[in-house]
Symmetry: D3
């Protein structure tokens, strides 16, 4: 196995093309981004991941912008460069302003800080939180 | 140094009591939660953390519920039990419904999954995301 | 201290050369990879790490391919680019097929997702697992 | 929203009961474990997660024991107590011996160690790994 | 929102320039590094972060070199490339020798290894540590 | 395989007893702590880990207290409860004062915060750090 390579539409199987087509239609984009072209090496994972993502990210009790910001918060915490780049773009498309991005980063930073203060001080859970 | 212990109001220095008082007033709660009682072992960190948190979590470009959900998303990603318990409660107080919690978890789960798919497939960043 | 630099064989001390020689012989490779050339800045860590790795990765109750896939699973979870690249190559040399790589990534992705669902829902451990 | 609670079969909606029934049949167990009872608070996530997991964990290019060990490797790296407990049990059911568990842990430990040595020494990726 | 860009001194608001000036004076450097130039997109976070960092990193019960090495240990554990680069440089300026760096990495590596051995073996906390 | 259990001295093989004896002598303690009793399930890993730890933690370019604090910083970042408990105790034995612990936690917290600010703002490495 050499380094994973992207699968372009013209080289893809009909099953992969069908997923690519659905992504392009759902998102109104001329081409899918690299994430999907690489996942296409494993058509089963491509299909399952796209269907899961579509279901998870559709508008529901949370609006799409909030979902994108949560996605970005996780990606920043995990330091996933690609995910930070793609979900920053997606959040901006969903309406995130620079001010909202700034506050998002501030919250993510503070949460990562206080998570560790809690760990180090071995803070026991208040009984009020256990109900 | 033995295991960290909580500092109760009655045993606290005036500087610590002042921070506790400000927390109680700002949040309209009769007592501060364990996090602050443990941080009180280091009054400087207590004061700085409270002031930072107050500034970061105040309403701004993002509303308080969104901020609490982002805090929770990070805490779940980091598996900080105390933080998950306290920020679940805080998010619920800020209005998070069970349906919103369910969607929040679904997004956090998917983000952690796709972050790793990206890593493993070594997906290069699309040039469109670099502008 | 400037940025760490690689130590090439010709510039290495006899102690480092002895480790390099052992790596080259054990792996039947003409040169050691960058990991070892950088660790060579600290000959003690170089020697200990190589000896530990050799002991841990030798065939035993688990076959070498399984061990390489586990190594890769951890590296993907931690987002260590170098480790993902080197252990993908090592796993491929040990016989990993593209289909096996695809399934490996699928499991790693799902595990990272469900790990977070468990955290967020604060799922208590079933008593059956505690025996 | 109070602390998440488990949803028992008798209190579950028909949609949730259908997933529970499928889990019990697929795994030949008399009851589902806590993970599913908590996810049942969000029937959509319950269904999607179960279907994904069933697809990902079924025998394929990798045998079920290897998949369970990879799942455990990720859970140990992420320090997810529940996941470590449940997937240790699952791996044991799939045939993992104590010796295999010991080697698995040894690999997971070494991978987490060398991942950080790589980070700290800023080791550049060998060109041979980039093909 | 496009990709975050640095804010140079000449384009900065007086509030940002005041922070930049304080950084340059405190550190006796002709220009601030990229971290501050990017944070300057959110003047509130820039100011709060700089003031917190200055307070946390000033000499106290721990000397500056030890603090820088702890910062580096965390950054290596989190695999933050920028942070590893900047805090390696800062630690070197504070007097870290190559031998100290080597030992620091060895400790960080071992800690990450044994952290996972503890997780996998589900080691219960000795009662002596709970006092 | 049931849940891992501790191996007590009286039930241990001579090889395990030899490691236990060396730990007790080196540390002047009447009994080894739980970590070693659990690792004893895999005598090879027990021996290798103890020998590595002894080598890594011995006085060298860094003094033992600094090493223990670095160990604790990593354990707090990883949220390893056992490791936080045992290395807090070890650091205290090596002389860590409550004030030093407080500053250590403050640095660990800030590092985890700024690591994420760097990730989110995608800060490029200053050329000065690449030399």
């Amino acid at each position: 196995m050499s380094k994973p390579k992207s699968v372009e539409y013209s080289d893809a199987s009909p099953a992969v093309q069908a997923v690519f087509d659905d992504i392009k239609t759902s998102r109104s984009v001329p081409d899918v981004n690299n994430f999907w072209k690489y996942l296409a090496n494993d058509p089963k994972t491509l299909k399952r991941t796209w269907e899961s993502l579509k279901e998870v990210m559709e508008p529901g009790a949370l609006d799409p912008l909030v979902k994108e910001m949560i996605y970005l918060a996780v990606s920043v915490t995990n330091d996933c460069s690609y995910c930070i780049a793609s979900h920053s773009t997606a959040a901006a498309k969903a309406g995130m302003t620079p001010e909202q991005f700034g506050e998002l980063m501030a919250v993510v930073g503070m949460a990562n800080e206080t998570n560790r203060l809690v760990n180090g001080y071995r803070v026991p859970i208040d009984s009020a939180y256990e109900i």
